[in-house]
C-alpha cells in the first residue's frame, strides 16, 4: 500500500515538474521576411503577393452594381436599399464615418469593390517591400529579376493612379514605412507631383528590356506589360493637366507629349483598334459591339489587339451562374436581378449616323435644369417619333432600348420596354428597368436563360487602345493641337461606323473640346470613365451639374401599335436633385474618417478632402 502511495506522490511531483515546454506549441509554416527572401520559391511567392489585390471593377462594387457608372450621368441603379451605397449617395445619406461606397463589408471579402484606401496602401506596402529587397533577393535569373522589378513599378504606378482618382493626392511612399515611422512630417503633395511619380515609375518599367509589350501566354495572364505602363502613363498625365487637378498650372503640353508618345509606341508595338467584325450575322457587322464580347487579347497574334489590360471579373463563381444577362440583363433574356441601367442622357448623346451630327446641342443639351426639355440640334436628322432609328451604331452595341433586336439562343426576339412589354419599365423592384433601357455592352448576343444558353461574356477592359486615342485627342486639343485631336476622334468614329464624309470638325478650341468630351461620353459608356471625366473637367468650386438630374423614357403603346414617349425625372419629383452626389465635395471620396483623424492628430494639418 505504502509503495503504491509513493508512486502516486511521484506522479504528482512529475506533474508539477511539467515544464514550460508544454506551452511551446510552435505553429507550423511560420516564416520571417528574411527567410522569405533567401529562398527562391518563397521570393517568387512574395512577388505573387504583389498581385494579391487588383480591382475587378465593373459590376463588383456591391453585389452586381457599379458605383461610378451608377453615379455618373450615364446610368441609374435599380437596387435601392440592397445597393445601399448608391441609395445613400443619391439621397446625400452618407457620412465620412460610414461611407457606404468605400467600405469593405468584410475583410475577407475580396469579391466586392471598395475599401480602396486600406487595400491599395496594403498592396503598395507589399510592392515596396519587394522592391526594397528585390536586388538582393534569391532570384537566380537576372532576366527574371529585371522583369519582376519592372512589373512591381507598373503595379505601384497603377495603385497610385487609382488612389489619386478616388481620393486625390496622397503621400508618395517609395519605401515601406515600417512600424516605428514618425508620421508627423507626412504631407499631401500636389496632384502633379504624384502624377510625375507615377509617370516616372512607368518610365522606369519601360526601360526594362525584359518587360514584354503584350502577354503571349495565358499562364501569365495577370502579369504587367509595357502596354499597361503606357496606358497608366497616358492617364496620369491627362488627369494631372485637367482643371480640377492642375493646381492652376498649364500642364497640357506635357500631357500631350506623353500621350502622343504613348499612342505612337503602342501602335508601333502591335496594338490596334478592332475594326473588323468577324461574326457579322451575330453582331450585325458592328465591330464595336463584337469587340467587347471578346476575351482574346493574350497571345502572339490575338484577334483582339485593342485591349491592353482586362479585368478578370466575371469568373467567379463561374460564368454559368452569373452571366451578364442574369445580373443586368433585360427580363426577356431571363435575368434574376438588375442593378444599373442606362439613362436617357446617355441615349441622347448618340449622334445620327447619316449626318454625323449630334441629336442635342453639345454646349447646351437641355433647355431646363431637369433635362426634361431637350435642346435639339437642327438638321441632325433625328426623328422624335422614332428616336432609336438611324443612330450611331454604338448605341445598338451599348444599350437595349424598346425594339432592340436580340437573339435568345438562335431565336430572334425583341426587347420591349414599353409599359406591359416583355421587359417593361417599372418604378420599383429590381428586375425591371426604371429608365426604359438596359445595358448591352459586353453581352454575347444569344446568351440567354430562356433558351438555356450560358457562356462567357466579355470582360471589363481596364485599358484599351481606344482610350489612348481619346486621351491623346483631349491632350492635343487642350494644348492647341486641334487637328491632331480631331484626327484621333475621327479615327474612333470610323471604327464605330461613321463615314469619313461626316467627320467632325471644329473651328475653335472650345468647339473641339465639346467634341472630344462628347466622344468620350459615347465611346466609353459603361466603362467607368464618365464618372472621373466629369469630375476632372469640373473645377473644385463647382458642382457636377450634369449629374444633378437623371431622366428616363416612359413608353406607352398606342392602339395603333405606335408608341408615345414621355421623359421623366428619376428619383425625384424635380424639387430635389436626382443624385446628391452631384455636389462638389463628390469630386473625390473622403479619406476614411478615422484615418483622417489619426493623420490630423499626428501632423497637425488638415487631411480630409474638401467638403467632407
Amino acid at each position: 500500500m505504502k509503495r503504491k502511495i509513493n508512486i502516486y506522490i511521484l506522479v504528482f511531483l512529475l506533474a508539477l515538474g511539467a515544464c514550460n515546454k508544454a506551452l511551446d506549441v510552435s505553429p507550423d509554416g511560420r516564416l520571417s521576411l528574411d527567410q522569405v527572401f533567401q529562398d527562391e520559391d518563397l521570393t517568387k511567392a512574395y512577388f505573387s503577393s504583389c498581385f494579391d489585390y487588383l480591382p475587378k471593377k465593373s459590376l463588383r462594387y456591391y453585389f452586381w452594381t457599379s458605383y461610378p457608372v451608377a453615379l455618373s450621368d450615364e446610368s441609374w441603379d435599380c437596387t435601392d436599399g440592397s445597393g445601399a451605397g448608391f441609395a445613400h449617395a443619391i439621397t446625400g445619406n452618407i457620412t465620412t464615418t460610414d461611407f457606404y461606397l468605400d467600405i469593405r463589408r468584410d475583410v475577407v471579402d475580396t469579391y466586392s469593390e471598395g475599401g480602396y484606401w486600406q487595400l491599395y496602401w496594403g498592396q503598395i506596402r507589399v510592392i515596396n517591400t519587394f522592391l526594397d529587397r528585390a536586388n538582393t533577393a534569391a532570384i537566380s535569373s537576372e532576366t527574371d529579376r529585371d522583369r519582376w522589378i519592372a512589373e512591381a513599378h507598373v503595379l505601384r504606378a497603377y495603385l497610385y493612379m487609382e488612389l489619386l482618382k478616388w481620393y486625390g493626392p496622397v503621400p508618395i511612399e517609395k519605401n515601406p514605412y515600417g512600424l516605428s515611422f514618425d508620421y508627423s512630417e507626412l504631407i499631401r503633395p500636389s496632384f502633379e507631383e504624384c502624377a510625375r511619380f507615377i509617370v516616372e515609375d512607368c518610365e522606369t518599367a519601360l526601360e526594362s528590356e525584359n518587360l514584354p509589350w503584350r502577354l503571349t501566354t495565358l499562364n501569365e495572364k495577370i502579369r504587367m506589360t509595357k502596354g499597361i505602363a503606357m496606358a497608366i502613363r497616358s492617364e496620369a498625365s491627362l488627369f494631372a493637366a485637367s482643371v480640377y487637378n492642375n493646381g492652376g498650372k498649364d500642364l497640357w503640353s506635357w500631357a500631350y507629349t506623353i500621350n502622343k508618345d504613348c499612342l505612337e509606341q503602342l501602335k508601333a508595338n502591335g496594338y490596334e483598334l478592332y475594326t473588323e467584325c468577324r461574326n457579322k450575322g451575330q453582331y450585325n457587322d458592328n465591330a464595336y459591339m463584337e469587340y467587347f464580347t471578346l476575351n482574346n487579347y493574350i497571345g502572339t497574334s490575338p484577334s483582339d489587339k485593342e485591349t491592353i489590360w482586362q479585368s478578370t471579373e466575371g469568373y467567379w463563381p463561374d460564368p454559368y451562374t452569373n452571366p451578364l444577362y442574369d445580373i443586368i440583363g433585360a427580363p426577356v433574356l431571363g435575368n434574376s436581378q438588375l442593378s444599373i441601367v442606362p439613362s436617357q442622357e446617355l441615349v441622347d448623346a448618340y449622334d445620327m449616323l447619316a449626318t454625323g451630327k449630334s441629336v442635342l446641342d453639345l454646349a447646351n443639351p437641355y433647355e431646363d435644369e431637369t433635362h426634361l426639355v431637350p435642346n435639339y440640334n437642327a438638321n441632325s436628322g433625328y426623328d422624335k417619333a422614332n428616336p432609336y432609328e438611324g443612330r450611331d451604331p454604338r448605341l445598338y452595341a451599348t444599350v437595349f432600348y424598346n425594339g432592340s433586336h436580340v437573339l435568345l439562343g438562335t431565336t430572334p426576339a425583341t426587347v420591349e420596354t414599353y409599359v406591359g412589354g416583355n421587359s417593361e419599365i417599372r418604378s420599383s423592384g429590381k428586375t425591371n428597368t426604371r429608365t426604359g433601357y438596359y445595358w448591352r455592352k459586353r453581352m454575347v448576343n444569344g446568351n440567354c436563360k430562356a433558351a438555356g444558353v450560358a457562356g462567357y461574356d466579355g470582360r471589363f477592359r481596364f485599358y484599351r487602345l481606344g482610350k489612348i486615342y481619346l486621351n491623346t485627342a483631349e491632350a492635343a486639343i487642350e494644348s492647341g493641337n486641334i487637328d491632331k485631336g480631331l484626327e484621333c476622334i475621327n479615327e474612333i468614329r470610323h471604327r464605330a461606323g461613321f463615314s469619313p464624309s461626316v467627320d467632325v470638325s471644329a473651328s475653335s478650341k472650345e468647339d473641339a473640346r465639346l467634341l472630344v468630351r462628347h466622344e468620350r461620353q459615347v465611346e466609353f459608356a459603361c466603362e467607368e470613365d464618365r464618372y472621373f471625366d466629369a469630375r476632372r473637367w469640373t473645377s473644385a468650386d463647382e458642382n457636377m451639374e450634369n449629374e444633378k438630374f437623371a431622366t428616363g423614357m416612359k413608353i406607352t403603346k398606342n392602339n395603333d401599335d405606335s408608341f408615345s414617349y414621355t421623359r421623366f425625372i428619376l428619383g425625384s419629383d424635380g424639387s430635389n436633385p436626382s443624385k446628391m452626389s452631384y455636389e462638389k465635395k463628390w469630386h473625390v471620396y473622403p479619406i476614411p474618417a478615422n484615418e483622417a483623424a489619426i493623420l490630423e492628430n499626428k501632423t497637425g494639418k488638415k487631411w480630409q478632402n474638401a467638403g467632407w
Binding site: 508544454a22 505553429p27 509554416g29 512577388f47 420599383s428 483623424a597
Partner: protein
C-alpha cells in the same frame, strides 16, 4: 450622490446595531427594574457535545433577557445568576440551539447542527464550510434550477444569482445561446466567465440536464478566483453534479409536458391599411404611389370578406402563414441514487424534446421534415467507491446527444424575410395560373413559390418549406476518474487527490439541400397576370434533396493533482491548505489555421486559510499559471489574493443581541488575469506564411487576381503567395484585473438575512489593436501588433435580502430578493481624438463599454426657431426657421425629427452624435425577486426577473418602415393630415428609403430595461399516507409557466427586449404540467 447617502445610512444603522447591545450589556442587570420581584438564584452546568467533549465558549443566555448571559469556560462550565423558573438558551456555532429550564448542575448535550456546521459551499477546487467563506460566492441549488422549463441551463440561472447577468438572444431550439456576465464587463476582449463542471473547465453549460446538478456557484471576487490565474478575471461559474449518498436507493422520476408559444408577435397590419401607408411613404419621399385607387379598392374588398381578385390582392397574415400557435415540449428524467458505506452512486438519464414554431408543410408532402426541433438525451453516472479507510475512487461518466433539426436557411434570413413580407404579397401560385417565357404562354401548377415583383425578395415560406433540411448532431462523452487518498498516516489532516478528465465531442451536420422553383409575375394592361420563371427546374418540380455531410470531432483532457490539508490546532486554530497542479490539453472545434493546434494550459494553484475560533478569518489564494498566448519570458503569471473576515456576532458584545444573529464582515484584494483574446493565438509571434492559391475546375483558364496565380505548376508563383497576416509583439501579456471586495452578511432575528458586497475592479493591460496607427502604412489593423494598453474600471454592488417564516398552522413562506449594479468606464483605449468640430471627440474612452451613440431629438419649444415642442419639424417653414442643414442623414421633410445641434454649427451631421441612454452590451442593473409559500402539500412559487439601465439601438427590419414593412408602431406617424387634426403622433413621417429620422437617435435608442414574470409554479404533493399506500414515497404534481409576462419600455410590442434585434428567433413562453415521483 443618492447611492452614497444610501450607503451612509447603511453604515449608520450598522454602527447603531453594534453600539446599542454593547452599551446595554455594560449595565449591571441587577440594577434593572425587572429584578425586583424575586431574589435571583445561581444556576450552573457543563456544556458538552455528543461525544461528551466539553464545549468552550458556548453562549448561555436567559431567554427574553438576552443581556443576561455568559460563556462557558475552558472546561465547558458556566454559572449564571437568574430568577427562578426561567429558560436558558444555549448556543454554539455549528450546533443546534437548545432551550432548557434553568436549574443547578445541568449537563447540557449539544447536537451538531449539520445544516449549519456542515453546510458547505463549492469554491475553487474544493468546498469550504459556509461559515468560513470570506470570498464573494453565491450559489443556487437544483430545486431552484428546476423551476425553469428552459432547455438551456444558462437561462435557467437568470435572476437567481446576484451578480450574474444572462442575456438570451435567441429562442431557437438547440441554438438558444445565452451571453453571461459576472459582475458586469471590464474588458474589450472576452468577457465570458469561466465555466467549470466538477472542477474541469467546460465550453458551455447549454447541454447539461438540470436534474444532474447539485448546485451552481458563482465565484466573483479575486479571493474566490485567483487560483484560476489567467482565466479567472471574468469570474467563474462552478457546476457541481449530484453524487450518491449513504442509505437506501432512491428512484426519482420527473415527467413534464409543455406547450410553447412565441412570447412576442409582431403587431401586423391588414393589407388595406398597409397599402395606404406604403403610398404615403413613397409620396413623402417624392416618389409615385405604388398602389392606385383600383388596387386599393381590391384590398378594401377584404373588409367585407368577399375579396375581388384575392389571389393577387391578398391580405396575408404572415405570422399565421409562417408560424404555429403552439409547439410542444417534453422533458423526462429518471435518476437513481443511493449507496452503502463503500459504494455510492448516482445514475441519471434524461430526455428533452423542444418543438419548433414553424408552420411547415407536412412531411408527406415534402418528404422531409424541416421543422426546428431539438432532441436531447443526457446520461450521467457518478460513482464513488471506498477501497479502504484512506483510499476512495470515483468515476463520473456523462454523455449527451443533441439532434437539432431545421431548415437549411439561416434563421436571420428567415426572420428577416418574415418581417419584411408584405400582407399584400402572394407567395404561392394560385389555381389556373399561366406563365410566359417571352415566346409562349402556358399553364403551370399551383402551389409553387412566388416572389412579389414589387418586393423583390422571396417570402420566408419557401425558405422554411422548400429549401431542404439540416440536421445537426452534437454529442459528447465525458469521463472523470478521481482518486482520493487520506495521507493521515504521514501527518494528520493531509490528503491527496488526483483526477483525470477526458472529454470527447463530436458534431455532425447533415444537410439535405434542395433547389426550388419560383416565379414572379407581371400584371398585364387588362388586369390579368402572367408568371415568369425565375429559378429554372425541370417540369416545375422542386429539386431533389442533395445530401451532404460535414463532421468534426475534438477532445479535451484535464489532469489534476491536489494536496489538501485541514486541521485544527489547540481547539481554536483552524488551518486548511490546498495545493494543486493541473494541465489542460484541448483540441478545439476548428477547421483551419492556428485553431487546429491543441491548446495547452498549465498551472499551479494554492490556498491557505486560517481562522481563529471561527471568528477571525484570513485566506490567501494564489494562482500561478502559464498561457501559451505569450512569449516564453512573459508566459507565467502570478496571481495572488488575500482576504480577511470577522464574524462580529461571535464577539461578546453581540452575542446576547436579540436582533443580529449573525454579522460577518469580509474584505478581499487580489489580482486575476484574462488571456481570452477571441480566436487569435500566439500573438507574440509574426504570422507570415506561405499560402497556396486555389485552382479553378470550371475549365476557365482565368483566375481572379486576388487569388494570385494558377496552381497547376505553370504559373509564376507555383500556386503560392506569402501572407503577412500578423506582426508579433513579444511584449504582450495577459490583462490584469485588480479586484477589491467589501462585504457584510447580517442575519436579523431568525428569519431575515441580508448581505451586501461592494466591489471595485481595475482592469488594465487590456490587449488592443492599436487605434492610432494610420492605415497608409499598409498593414491592415488585423495585422498590427497588439498592445497591452487598455484600461477599464468597473465597480458596483450586490445585495441579497431573504426572509423566511414558518407559521404554526404549517404555512411556510419565503421571499428572496437580489439586486446587483455594475458600471464600467473605459479609461484608456489608444483612441484618436476626432476633429475639433465634434461635440464628443472620443467615442470609447470615458464611456461605458457598448455605449449607444446617436442624435438627440430636440423637444424644446421655441416657435421663433420653428420648434413646437413635439420634436418634429411641423412644416417647411419650421425647417427654415430652425436654420439647420442636415448632412449625411438625408434632407429633412416636415415630420422628421429635429436634432440638437450640439456643436452649434447649424449643420446636423455625425459630429453632433452624443451618448444616449446606457450600454447595449449589458444592463447595469439586474435583479430577481422570488417568492414561495407552501401549505399542506400545496406549494407556490414565483420569480420576477428584471434588468435596468440598459439601452439598445434598434434599426432595420421590423423597426424601420423603410426596411419594407409597416407595423402598429407606424400608425402613430407624423403626417400633415394627422398633425392638422391634432392626432397623437409618436412616430416620424413615413419614408420608403430611410432619411433623417431613421437614424440612431433618442427615439430608436430605446430603453431596453424590463421586468419579467419569469416563472410561476403551483405544486401539490400527495400526503405521505396516500403515496405510501401505492408504494411511493413522494408524489408531486405541478403546473408551471415560464416567461409569462414582461413589462418593458420598448416603443413596439413586437419583440422581446432581451433579443438583440427583431430578426432573431423569438423567445418562448411555456406552459407545462409535470409529475415528480420518488420511490
Amino acid at each position: 450622490m443618492k447611492s452614497s447617502y444610501w450607503l451612509y445610512e447603511l453604515v449608520y444603522c450598522f454602527c447603531i446595531g453594534i453600539i446599542i447591545p454593547f452599551t446595554s450589556s455594560a449595565i449591571d442587570p441587577c440594577d434593572t427594574s425587572l429584578s425586583q420581584q424575586e431574589p435571583k438564584i445561581l444556576v450552573s452546568g457543563v456544556v458538552v457535545d455528543e461525544s461528551g467533549e466539553s464545549l468552550i465558549g458556548a453562549t448561555v443566555v436567559e431567554k427574553e433577557v438576552a443581556v443576561n448571559g455568559t460563556i462557558t469556560d475552558v472546561d465547558g462550565r458556566f454559572t449564571l445568576s437568574v430568577f427562578p423558573n426561567v429558560t436558558l438558551v444555549i448556543s454554539y456555532i455549528g450546533y443546534q440551539k437548545i432551550e432548557i429550564a434553568a436549574r443547578k448542575d445541568m449537563r447540557i448535550v449539544m447536537k451538531a447542527d449539520v445544516a449549519n456546521l456542515e453546510e458547505v459551499v463549492v469554491v475553487a477546487y474544493g468546498v469550504q464550510k459556509k461559515v468560513s467563506v470570506i470570498g464573494s460566492v453565491a450559489s443556487v441549488n437544483r430545486e431552484d434550477l428546476m423551476k425553469s422549463s428552459s432547455p438551456n441551463l444558462s437561462s435557467a440561472l437568470s435572476g437567481k444569482l446576484p451578480g450574474l447577468t444572462t442575456i438570451q438572444t435567441s429562442g431557437e431550439p438547440g441554438r438558444d445561446d445565452v451571453t453571461m456576465f459576472l459582475r458586469g464587463a471590464a474588458t474589450t476582449n472576452g468577457t465570458s466567465p469561466l465555466i467549470m463542471v466538477d472542477g474541469v473547465a467546460a465550453e458551455n453549460m447549454r447541454s447539461i440536464d438540470p436534474n444532474e446538478i447539485e448546485s451552481v456557484s458563482i465565484l466573483k471576487d479575486a479571493s474566490a478566483t485567483a487560483v484560476f490565474g489567467v482565466r479567472g478575471a471574468n469570474g467563474v461559474i462552478m457546476i457541481t453534479t449530484r453524487r450518491g449518498e449513504k442509505g437506501g436507493s432512491k428512484i426519482n422520476t420527473n415527467v413534464e409536458f409543455g406547450m410553447q408559444e412565441i412570447a412576442f408577435k409582431p403587431e401586423r397590419l391588414n393589407s388595406w391599411d398597409w397599402v395606404r401607408l406604403r403610398n404615403e411613404a413613397l409620396v413623402n419621399d417624392g416618389n409615385a404611389p405604388e398602389f392606385d385607387s383600383e388596387d386599393i379598392a381590391k384590398y378594401d374588398s377584404w373588409k367585407k370578406e368577399t375579396p375581388t381578385d384575392g389571389d393577387f390582392y391578398p391580405n396575408n397574415n404572415w405570422q399565421n402563414i409562417l408560424f404555429r400557435n403552439y409547439a410542444p415540449m417534453t422533458r423526462a428524467n429518471v435518476n437513481i441514487s443511493g449507496g452503502s458505506e463503500k459504494l455510492q452512486y448516482f445514475i441519471s438519464g434524461g430526455y428533452l424534446n423542444q418543438g419548433g414554431m414553424f408552420n411547415v408543410e407536412s412531411k408527406s408532402k415534402l418528404g422531409y421534415d424541416a421543422q426546428s426541433t431539438l432532441d436531447r438525451y443526457n446520461f450521467r453516472s457518478n460513482i464513488d467507491y471506498k477501497i479502504n479507510q484512506s483510499v476512495k475512487v470515483s468515476l463520473n461518466t456523462s454523455s449527451y446527444l443533441e439532434r437539432i433539426n431545421g431548415t437549411t436557411t439561416d434563421m436571420s434570413t428567415v426572420f428577416y424575410n418574415a418581417l419584411t413580407s408584405r400582407p399584400t404579397s402572394i407567395y404561392l401560385t394560385p389555381e389556373e395560373a399561366y406563365a410566359t417565357d417571352a415566346v409562349r404562354i402556358f399553364p403551370i401548377a399551383s402551389g409553387l413559390s412566388v416572389e412579389d415583383p414589387a418586393n423583390s425578395s422571396l417570402s420566408a415560406f419557401p425558405l422554411i418549406n422548400r429549401s431542404g433540411y439540416q440536421l445537426e448532431t452534437r454529442s459528447g462523452i465525458n469521463i472523470v476518474g478521481g482518486l482520493d487518498i487520506d495521507l493521515g498516516f504521514l501527518t494528520k489532516g493531509l490528503s491527496l487527490k488526483g483526477q483525470v478528465s477526458f472529454d470527447s465531442k463530436g458534431i455532425g451536420n447533415t444537410i439535405g439541400s434542395r433547389s426550388y422553383t419560383w416565379y414572379t409575375y407581371q400584371t398585364l394592361a387588362d388586369g390579368s397576370h402572367l408568371f415568369l420563371n425565375r429559378s429554372p427546374s425541370v417540369d416545375d418540380e422542386d429539386g431533389p434533396i442533395k445530401l451532404s455531410k460535414s463532421s468534426a470531432s475534438y477532445w479535451i483532457v484535464n489532469l489534476q493533482a491536489q494536496l489538501n490539508y485541514s486541521r485544527t490546532f489547540g481547539e481554536k486554530h483552524n488551518v486548511t491548505g490546498m495545493f494543486l497542479a493541473q494541465r489542460d490539453i484541448k483540441e478545439a472545434n476548428a477547421s483551419s489555421g492556428d485553431m487546429l493546434l491543441p491548446y495547452n494550459v498549465i498551472g499551479i494553484a494554492a490556498r491557505a486559510t486560517y481562522d481563529y475560533n471561527r471568528s477571525y478569518f484570513a485566506e490567501v489564494n494564489i494562482g500561478y499559471n502559464g498561457s501559451e498566448q505569450f512569449s516564453p519570458d512573459k508566459r507565467f503569471g502570478f496571481f495572488p489574493a488575500v482576504s480577511i473576515g470577522w464574524l462580529v456576532s461571535n464577539e461578546n458584545f453581540l452575542k446576547y443581541n436579540p436582533v443580529f444573529k449573525k454579522v460577518k464582515l469580509r474584505t478581499s484584494w487580489g489580482k486575476v488575469g484574462n488571456d481570452a483574446f477571441g480566436s487569435a493565438r500566439f500573438l507574440y509571434q509574426d504570422n507570415i506564411s506561405q499560402v497556396s492559391v486555389g485552382t479553378y475546375s470550371k475549365g476557365d483558364r482565368w483566375l481572379s487576381p486576388s487569388l494570385g496565380y494558377q496552381s497547376d505548376g505553370t504559373g509564376l508563383g507555383w500556386g503560392y503567395k506569402i501572407t503577412e497576416s500578423y506582426i508579433g509583439n513579444k511584449d504582450i501579456t495577459w490583462e490584469t484585473a485588480e479586484k477589491q471586495n467589501y462585504g457584510i452578511d447580517v442575519s436579523f432575528y431568525d428569519d431575515i438575512s441580508f448581505s451586501f458586497d461592494y466591489f471595485v475592479e481595475n482592469r488594465k493591460n487590456i490587449l488592443l489593436v492599436p487605434q492610432s496607427t494610420p492605415m497608409l502604412q499598409g498593414l491592415p489593423s488585423s495585422a498590427l501588433p497588439l498592445m497591452n494598453k487598455g484600461k477599464v474600471k468597473n465597480h458596483g454592488f450586490e445585495m441579497v435580502l431573504g426572509y423566511q417564516k414558518k407559521l404554526e398552522n404549517g404555512l411556510s413562506f419565503s421571499a428572496n430578493m437580489n439586486f446587483s449594479y455594475s458600471k464600467n468606464k473605459v479609461l484608456d483605449y489608444d483612441e484618436t481624438l476626432l476633429g475639433e468640430d465634434y461635440a464628443y471627440r472620443k467615442r470609447t474612452t470615458g464611456h461605458s463599454l457598448g455605449q449607444n451613440w446617436g442624435y438627440i431629438i430636440d423637444y424644446s419649444h421655441d416657435m421663433v426657431k420653428g420648434k413646437d415642442g413635439s420634436g418634429f419639424f411641423y412644416s417647411d417653414e419650421s425647417i427654415n426657421l430652425t436654420g439647420l442643414t442636415y448632412e449625411g442623414v438625408g434632407t429633412p421633410e416636415p415630420g422628421d425629427f429635429i436634432y440638437k445641434d450640439l456643436n452649434n454649427d447649424n449643420i446636423i451631421n455625425d459630429r453632433d452624435m452624443a451618448p444616449i441612454g446606457y450600454s447595449s452590451l449589458l444592463p447595469r442593473i439586474n435583479y430577481g425577486i422570488s417568492l414561495s409559500a407552501s401549505l399542506k402539500g400545496f406549494d407556490l412559487s414565483v420569480l420576477f426577473q428584471g434588468v435596468g439601465k440598459y439601452s439598445k439601438t434598434y434599426s432595420g427590419a421590423g423597426i424601420y418602415e423603410s426596411a419594407g414593412n409597416f407595423y402598429k408602431m407606424h400608425l402613430q406617424r407624423w403626417s400633415e393630415e394627422r398633425y392638422a387634426n391634432n392626432e397623437k403622433i409618436s412616430y416620424p413621417r413615413l419614408s420608403s428609403s430611410g432619411g433623417p429620422s431613421l437614424q440612431p437617435n433618442s427615439f430608436f435608442i430605446m430603453d431596453a430595461s424590463f421586468l419579467r414574470l419569469k416563472n410561476a409554479e403551483v405544486g401539490y404533493t400527495l400526503p405521505v399516507y396516500v403515496s405510501k399506500k401505492i408504494g411511493i414515497s413522494d408524489v408531486r404534481f405541478y403546473l408551471r409557466g415560464n416567461n409569462l409576462y414582461t413589462w418593458s419600455h420598448l416603443k413596439s410590442g413586437s419583440f422581446d427586449p432581451e433579443q438583440n434585434s427583431p430578426t432573431a428567433y423569438p423567445t418562448m413562453r411555456n406552459y407545462s404540467i409535470g409529475l415528480n415521483i420518488t420511490f
